[in-house]
Structures are given as C-alpha cells and as structure tokens.
C-alpha cells in the first residue's frame, strides 16, 4: 500500500490549495497575480464540465464522468453526443493521474493530455464529436468573459492561449486533482482502527485471502496492480476473467475482444485492464461492457470461476473460456462472507472526494 501513498501529500496539498483559492481568485485584484498552476486547474475544471465542447451541446467530460457516480455515468455502455452507443462502459477517473496505462484495453495514449483528444474528437465512436468543430469552439470560448480571464491567468506567458494544446493541458491538470485518499479504507490503512466496521474488516481479509485471491490482481494503492505473494509485479495487469465464451473457443462478443484488438495474440482475447476499485459502489454497472449489474453479481461470478451467460445475444459459458486467468478458479463463499466482501468494497467510497466542491461542476445546471 505504501507505494502510491508516498505521492499523496503533494496531491492533497494541491487539492486544498485549489479549493481554498478558487473562490478568492474571483475577486483577485491587480496587485496579486493569481498562481498560474492553480488557475490552470480551475480552467480545466470549467472545460471538463463544458457542454459547448460537444457537437450537440449535450455532453462534457463531466457528464460522462460525473462525481456523484464516482466519475462515471450510470450507462451500461456510454452514449455519446449523437446518441451513438460506445462499445465500452465508462471508467472512473478516480486517481486517474496515477495510472500509467489508460482505458480498458491496450494501445491507448498513456498521457492524459493525449487521451482526452479521443473522447473530444474521436469519430469511432462519437463521444463529444468535435473533430471538425474545435476551431469554432475555441473561438466561442475566446469570446466568453470567464474563459478570457481563466485562459490568460492559466497561461500568462501565452499571447493566444486559446489552442487545443492549452485546452488539453488544462483539462489534464484538473484530472490530476481527482484524487481519492480519504475513504474509510485509506483511513484504516493510515492507522484509524475504527474507520472500517467489523464487516468491512472481515471483507478486507477475505479480499486478500488465499482462498479468494482478489488481491492477486487488485492490489496497490488503487487496487489495480497485480501481485505475487504480496509483491507487486506490474503497474497494470490485463486479464480475462471468464465473462464470455461466445464460440466455445474463448471469443468475447464481437464488438470488443480487449487486448487482442491491439496485439492480435489469441491469448489476449478477452483480456482487459484490471480496473481500480476505488468508489466502486458508485460506478456500476460493472465490467468493460457494463454487463455486471451489481457488486453481488460480480462476487457471484468470481465465486463460480467465471460467468455463464444463458440468455441475450452472447450466450456461452465463460467459466470454460480457454484464455481465462488461472487466478479465477472459483471458491466457496457463504452469504455472510459475500456481504462482508461487499462491505469492504463499499469502504472504498470516498464521499469527501465525490462531494468536494473543488471538483464539482462550476456551471449552473438548467
């Protein structure tokens, strides 16, 4: 746990700073120029929730990554500005600044600055749909008094800061402030014994137990790093957890084969990045395609050693998927234990973070 926590004090300091200063800056008088680093985050927050950055004026980053839903959207698979359905479920942005690999799959840009151009301007699928509209959108922002001030305060050296590069720099700076470190789990790890109730403490033990093995893949500060005997062996891991077997030979539904889409290797079929479990209570539905309805269902599937899909368009027994990880073997679990495990997962919810005004939508909602 210690590894990621080391960088935390710096991040929380930034967060406190932003929270404290954002109000004050509104009335900043000429003699004390606002801190560009702070203003960059504040600009990023406005842009993150800016619906004019979508082709139909109905999407923003913050609409698909909404704080109250743990920075996700509640869809099974995301629906973009033109109502096109994405092939994947929306990922949480909780602690996204610490991730070295982005998205459920592989091959995505690994910097936040570059990654955000995909939802902003990508056409397959359309999320915000701004491919041909960015110049016009930047012009519109330029004529908005709030942005006129924020862009110049964030980039005081820049003659014309209204560029795509500056915009993505600012949004990424805001994303790096989406930090969770005050969940009951964090407080417990920091030594606050009663931050977890008895059920959650039992759940924590189960989670890291040899019987359940959750911790083999979900470890590290964000519970997204694979370990061997407690040692973290990779920053991120990609696994097939046996959710499908559409053709009896290990295929996942055609729309998404995970890492295979990039590597073309058979063993990568159905392999997806181990997601963080922070704020997991708020981020359902679950899995790369939103096909897991509840935490109870997820736990049931692990206990069964994979998921048998009986109905719908992609039936098949994921338990027999030949590409399934050896770590997903199934286990006995009592009802009480399943509840305890769920209690532990709920102890990863950071209400302080999701209700933090410094991370909230600054625009009035009509």
């Amino acid at each position: 746990m210690a590894r990621g926590r080391r960088s935390a004090p710096g991040l929380i300091a930034a967060l406190v700073l932003i929270g404290g200063l954002s109000g004050a800056c509104q009335g900043a008088s000429g003699d004390q120029p606002p801190d560009p680093a702070v203003q960059k985050v504040e600009l990023g927050r406005h842009l993150f929730y800016e619906r004019r950055l979508s082709v139909e004026g109905n999407r923003s980053c913050g609409i698909c990554h909404e704080p109250a839903l743990g920075f996700t959207d509640g869809f099974v698979r995301a629906v973009g500005s033109t109502d096109e359905v994405h092939h994947r479920n929306t990922l949480t942005l909780t602690n996204v600044g610490r991730r070295e690999a982005l998205t459920w799959g592989a091959g995505a840009p690994d910097s936040l600055e570059e990654q955000l151009l995909i939802p902003l301007m990508g056409e397959h699928p359309v999320e915000m749909g701004m491919a041909n509209q960015m110049d016009a959108a930047l012009d519109e922002l330029r004529s908005d008094l709030i942005y006129e001030r924020l862009f110049h305060e964030a980039f005081p050296e820049s003659e014309d800061p209204f560029t795509l590069e500056r915009l993505s720099e600012a949004i990424a700076a805001f994303e790096r402030t989406l930090v969770s470190q005050t969940s009951p789990f964090d407080r417990y790890v920091a030594g606050e014994e009663d931050a977890l109730d008895a059920a959650a403490r039992r759940g924590l033990e189960l989670f890291f137990s040899h019987r359940l093995r959750c911790g083999s893949c979900h470890a590290g500060p964000d519970l997204d790093q694979p370990t061997e005997e407690g040692e973290i062996v990779a920053r991120h891991g990609w696994f097939n957890i046996g959710l499908y077997d559409v053709d009896g030979q290990g295929a996942y539904p055609e729309r998404d084969q995970g890492r295979f889409e990039v590597t073309g290797l058979q063993e990568d079929r159905g392999r997806f990045r181990t997601p963080t479990l922070r704020n997991i209570e708020l981020t359902g539905p679950y899995y790369h395609d939103g096909s897991g309805a509840s935490l109870a269902d997820v736990i049931r599937n692990y206990a069964a050693g994979g998921r048998e899909v009986l109905g719908g368009p992609n039936p098949g027994d994921g338990r027999d998927n030949p590409h399934k990880s050896d770590l997903v073997r199934g286990f006995e679990i009592s009802e009480q234990e399943a509840e305890d495990l769920e209690a532990f997962l709920r102890a990863l919810t950071d209400w302080e973070m999701v209700e933090d005004p410094a991370l909230a939508d600054p625009w009035p909602r009509d």
Binding site: N58, D73, G74, F75, V76, R77, V79, D83, V85, P285, D289, G290, S291, G292, A293, S294, A296, D297, V309, L310, G311, G312, P313, N314
Partner: protein, 208 residues
Amino acid sequence: MRILSTWVSILSLSLFMGACADEKADSSSTAPVADAGNSSVQDAAAGAPDTASAAPDDVTVEDDAGVVLGLGPDDEFAQMGCALLEGEKSNPVAGLTAAEAGQQLIVPSHETGYAITLPESGTGFVTLEVPDWQVVIALFTLEGVEIILHDPDDKAEVVQELSYAAPCSEQQVIEERTKFHKWGGFTMELRGEPGGEVWLAAVDLPLD
C-alpha cells in the same frame, strides 16, 4: 438485487397496475403480476374508442384485472411508434435474468423498432439506455405484453398513463410515456409469450 426492489411502471392491461404506477413513492416492493391472457383484454380493445374522452377517474373497471383503456394522444410520436411497430424491426435477444439485462441494450430511436426474442420462461430482461436528462420516452408494444421498468433510484415518472396508441388502436398497440429525470441504463423486464417475440418501439420526445 437492489434493482429488483422498486419499479415505476407497467405496460399491461390492468387498472391495478396503473394505479400502482402512481403510487411508486410508497416503495412497493413487489409488482403485481397481470394475467396477460385475461379475456377482458379483448373487451377492452373493442371498447377503446368509446372511452377516449373519459377522465382517468371515470375508467370502468371490468373485473379485478381488466380495465377499459383510454386512447393516448394522437400526435406525431404516436404515429411514429405505430409506424415503427409496423415496419422492419431489428432483432435483439433478451437476457434470462435481471443480472443479464446489460447483455442487450435498447436505445430510443425514431428509425428502428424492435422485435425482441424472449426466453422460454416468457420473461426476459433488457436495458433501456436513456440518453438525456428530463427526456420523455414513449414505449409502444402490443396488448398482452407486460413491460416493467425497474427504477430503484426513483429517477422516472409516468407522464402519460397506459393507453391505446391513438393512430393504431385497432391493431391493439398500447403505449405509455415516462419522463426520465436522469439518464442512464434502466432495466426493463418483458413478459409475453414464452420463446416468442415482443414488439417494442421506444420513441424519445424532443427536450423542452
């Protein structure tokens, strides 16, 4: 499991269920099950035009399960719903349990109607992806089919009670309109003929 605990509306042919839809706030946890094959259904169809102007309070109860439905609004959306059910439809397959609802997405559309295959149990589950806040979605299906919209977080309300779709009431098309205060995926439970098809159109009305 939470998903199954509350519900907002039922497209079916029982007054009982219509009344419950109004009372969703009382967090009733079990949806009454209608007898889809009830004979009063046919009587209701025959009587539909006569009751078009009746206020909801005046609806005649035929027996404990059946009711004479009124006529819904005769507007472009009703026409669209009727046309979509009449035209070529796409063929989704419903999941077997609520846990499988996420396997099959239904997206409101002005272009496509759906002919959804039900499991042998006669009850199937799909997810209605509601793409906007404060959007009204009109759901159209054929009489005898029951549609239960699960709404555990109380994000939806019925704004137009179950009625015959005015432009195609003689084809026994029924419709109900629901306003969704928030977007997201909503589990829809469909009950009909075992192994058969449920015809469905989901028409989103323009936002005001």
